[in-house]
Every structure is written in C-alpha cells, then in structure tokens.
Symmetry: C2
Subunit: 306 residues, 2 copies
Amino acid sequence: MSLVVVGSIAFDAVTTPFGERERMLGGSAVHFSLAASFFTDVRVVGPVGSDFGEAELEVLAGRGIDTGDIERVEGETFFWRGHYEYDLNTAHTDDTRLGVFGDFQPKLSTDSKAAETLFLANIQPDLQREVREQCTGAQLAGLDSMNLWIETARDSLVRTIGGVDMVFINDAEIRMLTEEPNLVRAARAVMEMGPSAVVAKQGEHGAALFTADGFFALPAYPLETVVDPTGAGDSFAGGFLGYLDSQDRAADEATLRQAMAHGTVLASFNVQEFGTERVQRLSREEIDERYHAMREMTAIEGVPAP
Amino acid sequence: MSLVVVGSIAFDAVTTPFGERERMLGGSAVHFSLAASFFTDVRVVGPVGSDFGEAELEVLAGRGIDTGDIERVEGETFFWRGHYEYDLNTAHTDDTRLGVFGDFQPKLSTDSKAAETLFLANIQPDLQREVREQCTGAQLAGLDSMNLWIETARDSLVRTIGGVDMVFINDAEIRMLTEEPNLVRAARAVMEMGPSAVVAKQGEHGAALFTADGFFALPAYPLETVVDPTGAGDSFAGGFLGYLDSQDRAADEATLRQAMAHGTVLASFNVQEFGTERVQRLSREEIDERYHAMREMTAIEGVPAP
C-alpha cells in the first residue's frame, strides 16, 4: 500500500465572502496528499522555492507524508491569488506566479517509482506522461486536468489519458474534452481513450462515477457554510485514491463507490475552512462519522445492516 | 387516495437538437397528471380553448385521469413556443400566448375540493392560494413556482408558500426567493415560511430533499439521449406526489425518499421523447424496473435485502 502524487505545492492568497488569507499552504499535491494520508502511506513529488520553510514541510510530515521527493529550488514557490463571489462556485484567478514550478522536471526516487497507486495532479500533460512512464510499479494511475490543457495541449492530454486508469475532471471539462454535451456519452468517450473509470466532479452537486458497466453518483455533503472551496477537487481525489490504495487494488464496483464517498467526505471538510486548515486537524473518527452520515442520507430504502 | 392538480393545459411548439414538434399537448397540469396517474386517482383543473379537441382530452382520460374540471372557454388554448440548445439545460422561450389562461379563475368541483393531495402547479400565486383555500380536504399540498413570480409577486408567493406542505422549485429559484446563496440555508429559510419539506430540482444533477431533520439527494437517472426536457419538473412532481398519495399520508422520511426516486424515474421517461410521447405509452412495470435501477445505482454499500 503506497501512493505517490505529483503536482503543485503552492502558496495561495484567497478571498471569499467569509474572509481572506494572504499566504497559506496550498497546491494540488498538498490538498491531495493531506486527504489521502488518512488512509495510506503517501509520498509527494513537486518543487518548492527558497521561501518554503520548515513549518510548511511539517504540515505534511506531521501527517506522516513522505516529503523526500519535494525538491528545493532557488526561487519562489508557485503562488496563486484568487477570489470567490457569494455563490462560491467559481474561482476567479487574480494572479499566478509559476516561480520554480515553471521549470519543473519531476525526478522520482526509487520508492516513489515503486508506489502501487499514482495520482497525476493537474500539471502539463507531457509532464504527467513522463511521470506515468517512470512509475513502473503503479498498478493504478489517476489523473486530473483542466480547461487550459484541453485548449492548449489536447493531443498530449489525450495520449496521457490513454495511459491512466481513472480520470478525475469536472463535468464541464469532460464535455469540452470530448465535444459531447451529454455527460453519459462524454464519459464513455473518455473511457474509449483508455481509462476504465471516469469521475465527473460536479462541485456543489457532488460527483458521478462512470465505469464500463456501472453508474454511481453522490451529492456533495450538505453544508450550511462553505468558507473556501480551494482544493476541494484535490481533496476529493485524495480521499478517493487514498481509500482505494488501502483496499484491494482490484477496485471492484463496490470499493469504487466507497472511495467516492470517502472522497466526498474529505472534500466537505476541506471547504469548511480556509486552505488546509480544517483537514490539518481532522481525525479518522470524524471521517468515519461523516461517511456513515453519507450512507444514511443517500439510501433510498435505508442502509443495509452491517 | 386522490390527487388534484391545478395548472396549465397547453399546446407546445418545441425545437431541440433532436427535432421539433409544431403543436403537441403540454402544460404543467398535463405532465404532472400523466406522471401521477400511474400511482393514484388524479383530477385535473385548468382551462382549455375551443381549439382543444377530444383527442387531447383522450390522452388524459385514457390514463384514467378525471377531466371533469377541465373548463372549456371560448378562445385559444395556452400556447408556448421554445427551443433548447445543445446542452439541453435551459429552455429559451420564443413565444407565449396566454389565451384562455389569461382570465383563468379556478372552479373546483366538490370531488376536487375533497381530494386528499393537492398540487398547485406553476401559476400566479394569488390563484394558487385561492385554490389552496378551496381544497378543504387536502391533507398534503405541494406547490411549484418560477422566477417570474419571485420577481413580480414575491409577497403573495411567500403567503402562498405559508399555506402548503411542500415546495418543488429549482435550486436557483430557492436561492433567489430567499436571497441566500447557500442551498442548505436557503431551503431552511423556505421551511421557515411554513412548509415541512423543500424539494430542490436540479435538472441534470437530480434533486435534493430538505426536511426539518433530514437531507436526501438523488442524481438524475443517467440517459445517453435527452430529447426534450419540457415538463421534466412537472413529471417529477407528479411521480413524487402521486406515489406519496398512494402511500401512508404521514409522509415519513422513508416514504419521502421513495417518492423522490419515483419522481426521478418519471422525469427520466418524460425527457426521452418529445412532450408526453414517452409517458403516454409508459407502463408501471417499466417504472418499477427503473426504480430498482435507481436503488442499485445510488447505494454506497449495496441495496438492503427486500
């Protein structure tokens, strides 16, 4: 059981209707690995600048995450500044400074290459593919992407998708990638590129799972206050793949559904406070409690006896 | 067990990416009553013009629906023309002619006033309230509305909502009505107006049910082809309230969840063909089959033994 994630490690400045943070730990690899760390052994691969301190590393190490493949480079850590309006559904980017992330060439240690599960967070698809090829031990690989790569590097992205088992992208991006407005057909078109499962992230509407012969969907966990949605998708993927890595790697339909629910639970904690603040002090007991609540609130005819 | 619906009876002209119909039977009361007719005795109240023929009446009567309270008035039947783009999520209105619906004053027969369940389809809220007051036998009343009434008759709508048990409106309208962007808080604000349950219709994302101490949500039934979404919301409400009327009127949480699933199933058949075409030749067996499929595709840990 081990999982490696390659993606961004960042400082985020975020303003939402509930407040703001000028500089907090963020980035896809950070949100993913914190969420996954509740279920399995996690290794993070990504670059940080000379402004990245011991306190930030300790957030990851404190959750038992292996930071040995975090590469220190002279320069500035990736920086993102954004804000959300009252509906909290759309992130508006105000500033992006790639810093050391601009020249990122992933170098994986032997242990990372041997990890059984791999997550390629949202980075340039050529880099994702290089990492996939280095990770010869990975029996299960998942990938996230975004509209930018669909628009600017579509062919590369399609090739990269061809080499992974699961795709985690939002429903608008699935439609954009396949030029198919019907989500069921669009998800099937993605599976025809190679993956055996497609997870459509739907923000406040939850997530849907498409497999060769199955469909499953979960609402988001209902929250009266969403403070900061930044990182929700990566926390979802981290909960999902972390749980999956802790179970039978065969990833049967039943296990995938439980993974969906664990992803949903981790995303829900992520958005309740700024950045990683809530997940940093989360406990497995709180996760299990919310997982059981999800079972209750989605069962049409009640929950089966344990 | 009996259910009365008050709403529009219409001719619709609809264009979607899959074709068009120049003049077909439509209207909220029609879609609602056809869906509900699979579960209980249904009576329709609404006006039609001199252009409304026996063939149209027979569509309703053929499903056992009581058409005695359909009022024939000199003039034209309500007419709506609209189209949908490729994403099929938004109806674009091209023409509306109120016709005899413009002077509609609901007159209910003794039998309709005695019905145990009442649905006030999307009409002017003053009219909805008058009908609610006439229906002294109704132990359960539901209501639909729309952005037009929220903008032009908000106070009346809030009063009308105060007199019903359940509200079926889409999530954007719940937010608009309550001026609260968070859906959980917004639904609670609607319940504070009087109703004990709020159903947030979410189109392709399904529907969510809010009650005093419960939350439940279902995805839409996954379809590879949606031909015409017109009437989906009314078919949902018809399946929901028709099922509920056929069960214990107490409407406990478990029954409400099954009603959500039956509403979802009826809405899914509705959108598979134009107008009422698919629902007209639907069977209870097909409904039950899809209901069981919904149970399977939403259970995190499998379906309980029967």
